[in-house]
Point group: C2
Chain length 136, copies 2
């Protein structure tokens, strides 16, 4: 691994977390500073950043994957399949579960950004429980 200019600028662009950006958004932003940069270079830099834990990647059901800066405070999300609203879940609600899985399976988990799909309270009431379908 070597210092990659693309990686560095991506991290600057993504700031200190909280924003979900698509590869395309990152690409366009990047090109204003590094005009000639190639799409596959961006995807590969993103992959390295995800693998080293500096970014998370998630499919929140919007067609394109979204990336987010990891700032040390792991967090997770609930995504409503009906209204598409995204809610944050603190790591404290997840850490015990992860610990149990790690112990039970002698695994070291790397997932740092869990996405759970479901229905928020409002939408449950709106559509009636009969219609609530399950999903991956």
């Amino acid at each position: 691994m070597r210092t990659s200019s693309v990686e560095c600028i991506i991290l600057e662009i993504m700031g200190q977390g909280s924003d979900h950006l698509t590869a395309q958004e990152i690409y366009h932003n990047l090109r204003s500073r590094l005009p000639g940069v190639n799409y596959s270079t961006v995807y590969r830099a993103l992959e390295r950043l995800v693998n080293s834990g500096k970014l998370s990647i998630s499919d929140i059901g919007t067609g394109a994957a979204v990336y987010e800066r990891m700032d040390g405070h792991r967090h997770h999300h609930l995504v409503c399949l009906h209204c598409r609203q995204v809610v944050q879940v603190g790591d404290d609600e997840v850490v015990n579960f992860f610990d149990t899985i790690e112990n039970q399976h002698a695994y070291k988990l790397a997932t740092n950004h869990l996405i759970l799909f479901g229905y928020c309270q409002e939408c449950q009431e709106k559509i009636g429980k009969a219609d609530l379908s399950t999903c991956s």
Copy 2:
């Protein structure tokens, strides 16, 4: 919703669970029975089957998403980022966590097939803990 021949045949193809098939594998299998069927028809039928809980869809990091038949016994997976081995996790190890999240956030979860990435015991020893990176 109406009985779709494509959906029915897909369910037959996928049997009673346990196999992870890509859209492409399903598509090729399907074409031997329904020669003219279109790729986007397959994707849309798969989407409906996932939404109605008959299939699960997961990205286990192999480039293409994989689908699996849901047979009533929810289960989940651990995927080793190093050797790519996939381990099954019973729903009993997950159900408490899901319940807590549902209560805490007044949510009705629909996710029925959780994928957690990490490192299996063998690979942890093989590569040494220093190199273990985190990932989405």
